[in-house]
Amino acid sequence: MEQYIPLIPLLPLIGFVVLGLAGNSISKTLAAIIGCASIGISFVLSLLVFNAQLHTEDAVTISLFNWIEAGSFKVELAFLVDHLTSAFLLVITGVGFLIHLYSVGYMHADEAHNRFFTYLNLFIFFMLLLVMGNNYLVMFIGWEGVGLCSYLLIGFWHKVNEYNKAANKAFIMNRIGDLGLLLGILMLFSQFGTLNFVEIKANLTGIETNNYTIVVATLLLFVGAMGKSAQIPLHTWLPDAMAGPTPVSALIHAATMVTAGIYMVVRSNFLYSLAPITLEFIAVVGLVTALVAATIAMFQNDIKKVLAYSTLSQLGYMFLAIGVGAYSTGVFHVITHAFFKALLFLCAGSVIHAMSGEQNLLKMGGLRKKIPLTFITFLIGVLAISGFPFTSGFFSKDEILVNVYAHNKLYFYLASAGAVITAFYMLRLLMLTFFGTFRGTKEQEHHLHESPSSMTIPLVILAVLSVAGGLIQVPHIYGGKPYFAEFLNSVAPAVESAEFSLATLEWILLGATSVILFAVYFLTKKFYAENKFEGIYTGIKNILAHNYYFDEIYNTLITKPLNAISTIFYKVFDKMLLDGTVNGVGKVVNWSGGKLRYLQTGYTGFYMFAMVLSLVVFLIIGLYNLI
């Protein structure tokens, strides 16, 4: 089995190279086949690898070559496949394949169809590298690589400057996080003399809890995670990233790339478990992001913006789970979220496709009869994310809540409130899109159509997964077993023993969730399903609708001052002071040269006089020294 492991990232890379070189010289069909097949085969190989990992606790390491070697620094280009990696491999290649398939239909009419698949394959390659690296630096290749693909795909329609700006913003904000990650990596290297995960883990014996270096290093690494996984305050790029084609939003900005931060923290769990301070910080950041983003999502009128803020919020929940030490729960939510959020985004894409590009909820309504399959799958996605009993989201979210409850009651109540808000904004979205009557133009109505099967098949598969995906981790009270937690235990054991006797709490959650969902259903139906909604907000709602004015605040506090300082550096320091001084010296030399020139009179008599005078002066100095 091991010999196939390098093929998993290699196939998408080959796909990228072939598609990149071929460009538009091959047909769209062929490009789509190459793009999908490379990921499809990777998925099959990932399945085999996963299967092999099921029966062993031994991680597989495969070294390719020494990448960077200088002085005492040495880093290999090597892969590590263990339980954690094999789980991520399945999500990336599995969901990735479905989204590739979906893109065949979605991007069919786009003139840059082939380029789209080129970028997607490159993305999968980097994403696989990210989760397969056996050290922080190889992970960092993937980390920055997926950032590049994100940049390229957000600005995919490069003629629209607004999209390009969103792409720049995403890359630059990620780079802010990346600097933190880079410094964390440097710190780890100076502490342990290696960046290899296994070696660092082995060197931890004797280091006490909350050791200064470990706390700072883990915080720095987490800054990277905040950038990549869009946690407050580095979150504002993700809503703008919706400028990219919808499959990109599903794949990169929901299912895979944005969960890289979670992967990194879980991968480094041996460090984080030694730094409870950092974990507490992560929990708070996650909780704040979960709540803030959820409140924003309540007031968005763009179908993709609602989903984007929802993603932010769900990522917050994942970090909250990790922050309370429940690593496997965080990853579990990554997986279920990958299913239902990819589903929701792809459904949104199908809606946008049907609506001839329209994304404004105020123009939709009543679509459930026009595009029934999209409606049903979307409904399933909504139920899953809202935590409808026994869907995948129910299991993963309840497990988060239970773990949070065991850690801190206040966090639990806040997180539960967030879950209610989640149900609210998702059902609001459902109502505005599919219920009521159509509010768009006649022409849009005329064009309404269900998407082609290459788009709907992935929807159906993802819908099934959104329902059944939770079965990998079912609490005892429902007669299940936490298979997934046991599977991950060898890589990321929970900080506090996760063996809860909180059966009562789970029953309460089941009951409360059901009641609340029904209440929210009727509430949203009343407000949003009957075309009374105007989408205009004032006062505090307006602040929420505008993302708490984060962008404006950053613009005033960072962007503008940076430009101002740079201009001062340039015009005042560089041009006036420094260059002025240099030119001034030049002028003084010129001027004094002009004056001194008069000494060169050409009269022999004058030179004789000067010579004698100098001799006398030197004599006097010499005599003075003698005395």
Partner: protein
């Protein structure tokens, strides 16, 4: 034997070129430079097989009364610079293809002489010879800037010439001080090393700062950089490439070869000051690059930022830092020459390199946008490109010296992305402007140029051992001493 062959090949090419009609000057220069490239590759192979080979050293008695000999030698550190020079020269000459060049004979002769002088600087192991080549290198570039430069060239070239000449005079003084302290009055580098080490702290300080001034002006490092943006912007494309791609490495190479091992006490006393200056350079120049409206000038400032990091890494005096500096010198040479050619292509096709007057080039010429993209990614040090390796090792070295300096210098990771992405967007993406509407497709020579640059960027990024291994042993030797 190799040093003298490497030195003379460009001179011979120049002589042949002068004897032949000017219509084929370009091709002769190209042929000569490729010959030089092969020669350096052959030398590299020799160095790999046997680093102690007598062929890598050349020594001939010259001014015996002064204790100065014509001595050159090639070790790993030198080799990286030789390789860079001889890879870049054919590319720089290639960049003139499909371009009208005034007085081609004189132009290419100057370039080839420049190459010879640069190689001399990198190979010299005699103080006086080093100084002479250092100054020789200035003469061809002076004429290139003066006769083939843009508007206002007299004033700008004069300033550049005087400024760098002033720096070299300080270096001459430093060399003479060292010479005075040698036991047998010799300019041989090892004697100068010994002399430097034997000096008192105060004497070392003088030598340190005199050397540093010369090198700092050449690189340049804040606050000695004000000649550079004007000169880079004004020089003809090939002149800018020579200056930024190779000539500035004289400064960084000088630090490694002539300053660090020469006066160790002063180095450890003043490293902190120099690293602070360099880190200021990084942030200051990056910020200024953000507000540049002219792309060529933007690259000029970004070059100051990159060199600042190299300088800081060198003064960390760690193997990682110095190895990083060497890799980054190589990477920066390749990337900056690529960027200036991007600038040249834009200027030629759109008639301007003012960023805001461009836009939408990607729509008209997708291939060009692709090449530019990769070079840009190299320049902002994306992993798997050449300069990531350099920048990471530099930051690693600086971090070991002082974590805060690495954090501040690391801001270039963010700021670099800001100015490169913003300008790429304004020039290449969005809607076409009247200037870019008729952007021509690339000529074969242009495509060849970009392919070579991009291949080097990728290969050195994926497999940096190609460069790292060349100097590994010599850097370790230097650190241990």
């Amino acid at each position: 034997m190799f040093p003298i062959i490497l030195l003379l090949l460009p001179v011979v090419s120049a002589l042949v070129l002068l004897a032949l009609p000017s219509s084929i000057s370009k091709k002769v220069a190209m042929g000569g430079s490729i010959l030089s490239l092969f020669a350096v590759l052959f030398t590299l192979n020799t160095l790999r097989i046997d680093a102690a080979s007598a062929n890598l050293v050349f020594n001939k008695i010259w001014l015996s009364s002064l204790g100065s000999n014509l001595s050159f030698s090639i070790d790993g550190i030198t080799m990286v610079l030789l390789l860079l020079t001889n890879i870049l020269l054919p590319l720089i000459i290639l960049s003139t293809f499909n371009r009208e060049i005034n007085k081609p004979k004189a132009y290419f002769t100057m370039m080839l002489l420049m190459q010879s002088a640069l190689l001399g600087v990198f190979m010299a192991t005699d103080g006086l010879v080093f100084y002479i080549f250092w100054e020789l290198a200035l003469i061809p570039i002076y004429f290139i800037c003066l006769f083939w430069g843009g508007e206002g060239r007299q004033r700008i070239t004069f300033k550049f010439f005087i400024y760098t000449l002033l720096g070299s005079l300080f270096m001459l003084v430093a060399l003479i001080i060292l010479y005075q302290h040698t036991l047998n009055h010799s300019f041989a580098i090892n004697d100068l090393y010994a002399a430097g080490k034997s000096m008192t702290m105060e004497q070392q300080a003088w030598v340190f700062w005199f050397f540093f001034l010369a090198f700092a002006i050449k690189m340049p490092v804040f606050p000695f950089h004000t000649w550079q943006p004007d000169t880079y912007t004004n020089a003809p494309t090939q002149g800018t490439m020579l200056l930024s791609g190779i000539m500035l490495k004289m400064g960084t190479y000088g630090l490694i070869r002539w300053l660090l091992p020469m006066v160790p006490a002063a180095v450890s006393a003043y490293s902190n000051t120099v690293i602070i200056l360099s880190v200021i350079s990084v942030v200051y120049a990056s910020c200024i690059a953000i507000v540049q409206t002219n792309f060529k000038r933007l690259i000029a400032y970004s070059s100051i930022a990159h060199v600042g990091l190299i300088c800081a890494g060198i003064f960390s005096y760690k193997a990682e830092g110095i190895q990083g500096a060497l890799v980054q010198m190589f990477a920066h040479g390749i990337n900056v020459v690529g960027l200036f050619f991007v600038c040249d292509v834009i200027q030629r096709n759109a008639g301007t390199d003012t960023i805001s007057n461009l836009g939408g080039i990607r729509t008209v010429n997708q291939r060009f946008a692709f090449w530019f993209l990769i070079i840009m990614l190299g320049s902002i040090a994306l992993p798997l490109t050449n300069s990531f390796v350099g920048e990471f090792l530099l930051l690693n070295g600086i971090y070991q010296y002082n974590a805060w300096y690495a954090a501040i210098g690391g801001l270039s990771v963010i700021l670099g992305a800001v100015y490169m992405l913003r300008s790429y967007q304004s020039m290449m993406l969005g809607n076409t402007s009247s200037n870019t509407l008729t952007f021509a497709s690339l000529k074969k020579s242009e495509t060849l140029f970009f392919s070579v640059i991009v291949i080097i960027i990728m290969v050195c990024g994926v497999y940096p051992k190609l460069i790292l291994d060349i100097a590994a042993l010599d850097v370790l030797k230097m650190i241990v001493h």
